[in-house]
Amino acid sequence: MNVTIVDYNSGNISSVINSFTEVAKDKVNIEITSDLNKIKSSDKVVLPGQGSFKSCVDALNNINGLVDTLNEFATNNKKPLLGICVGLQMFADIGYEETETKGLGWISGKVSKIDNKNGKYKLPHIGWNQINIVKDSKIFKDIENNSHMYFVHSYEFIPEDKNVISATIDYSSNIVCSVEKENIFGTQFHPEKSDKTGLKIIDNFISL
């Protein structure tokens, strides 16, 4: 099996690579590439993302044909795809970081700044928070409710259809931290930095 981590100059992906390599061991081949043919032929795709919504969308668009290839992979061929952090946020129709920017539109909704309640909550939301699992998700197999995950973000994904939400966290309000829509998975937290529990989520995705 091949799992491809999309390398599209979206910032630092070495931790994502290290964690997937650690979990995959010899069972699974991990590719790190932006090569369209390799993405097309892979079994699963990981879409990381760091920096701003706009910078990640721009970076995707900078690689000719990449967005089309990802669309085909995730929405036509319905193969498993995991978005992490801004990778998840880009599933939305629109994001408001820096400036209004169109997302991939795979899950209707928007990405807006977390309400810090006049400074009561520090932003970025950095650190370990407990997830509240609200629906069964394949990537949460053997993950206990209230597990701690590592977060670092200032923006939140607000999907229109609440049925896609698989977990939330409490930070100024209930923030969506995980989604599952058919073959599309996303985590706002960083499984690659969430210790053993995070590695288990990666293992669950690889084992789908």
């Binding site: 910032g11 290290n18 650690e22 760091q50 650190g127 928070n129 200032s154 969430s194």
Partner: protein
């Protein structure tokens, strides 16, 4: 609920762990990769490497240490010391650091903070502030505490937030190495003033000091000696904080 973080810091020199008392009198005491792994296995919420003499020595050893550590530790790794430019930051991130802390370069040229937070995202840019009490508050120092600047620490903290820093790592030079507790007034002032998380650093000797640090408004507490010399384990520290009703990840 967001938990308060406990961050063990490893001072690294020439690829080896050392811990300074008031930034001098160093003792060689261990392999950073192994140390970091022990910390992450025992529940550290983050690991911090500070390359202490990097400002004036060959610093390629730190890249190797970061590379090896990031393959074994799956909690966030912050690396600082001798970071001069956007290019240095890029290099450390590529080696597997999750955040980079900038001290001297941020003071000399705030544009490094602006440019790097725009390029890599605020989430990976930590500005390290070394502050010392003076006549009208606190003054910041650069070059590992060697050079005075005449710059007011509170003004600087506010400026760094505007430049795009994601966090501030605030070290009291008066307290560092004394094991007499954080400079609580300094932590309170800065964390009240800025809307980004503050990491308290410098002076921890007891577990109550960690409690005081969190109660001063810091989002995270950093300590080196108490963990490094085994006075307390990370899990003892967490149990203690939890017993004082401070939310931590256990």
């Amino acid at each position: 609920m967001l938990k308060n973080r406990i961050i063990p810091c490893l001072d690294v020199k020439n690829g080896r762990v050392v811990k300074g008392i008031n930034f001098v009198d160093l003792k060689d005491a261990g392999d950073p990769v192994e140390q970091a792994k022990i910390y992450s296995d025992s529940g550290a919420d983050e690991i911090c490497f500070l390359d202490i003499t990097a400002s004036n020595e060959n610093r390629d050893t730190i890249y190797d240490v970061v590379k090896k550590t990031s393959k074994k530790c799956f909690v966030p790794l912050t690396v600082g010391g001798g970071v001069r430019s956007v290019d240095d930051i890029n290099k450390l991130l590529n080696c597997g650091a999750d955040k980079v802390s900038i001290n001297t370069a941020a003071v000399q040229n705030a544009k490094v903070v602006e440019d790097s937070s725009r390029k890599f995202g605020s989430q990976c840019i930590v500005v390290a502030i070394d502050a010392k009490i003076n006549n009208d508050g606190w003054e910041i120092f650069t070059h590992g505490g060697r050079n005075s600047t005449g710059i007011n620490a509170l003004e600087f903290a506010s400026k760094m937030e505007k430049c795009g820093a994601g966090e501030l790592l605030v070290t009291s030079m008066d307290k560092d190495g004394t094991q007499s507790g954080y400079d609580i007034e300094l932590m309170k002032k800065i964390s009240t003033m800025v809307n980004i998380p503050v990491i308290a650093s410098g002076g921890v000797g007891t577990l109550d000091h960690l409690v005081d640090g969190i109660n001063s408004g810091a989002s995270a507490v950093l300590a080196a000696s108490i963990f490094h010399y085994g006075t307390y384990s990370i899990s003892e520290a967490k149990q203690y904080l939890a017993s004082k009703d401070i939310p931590v990840r256990i």
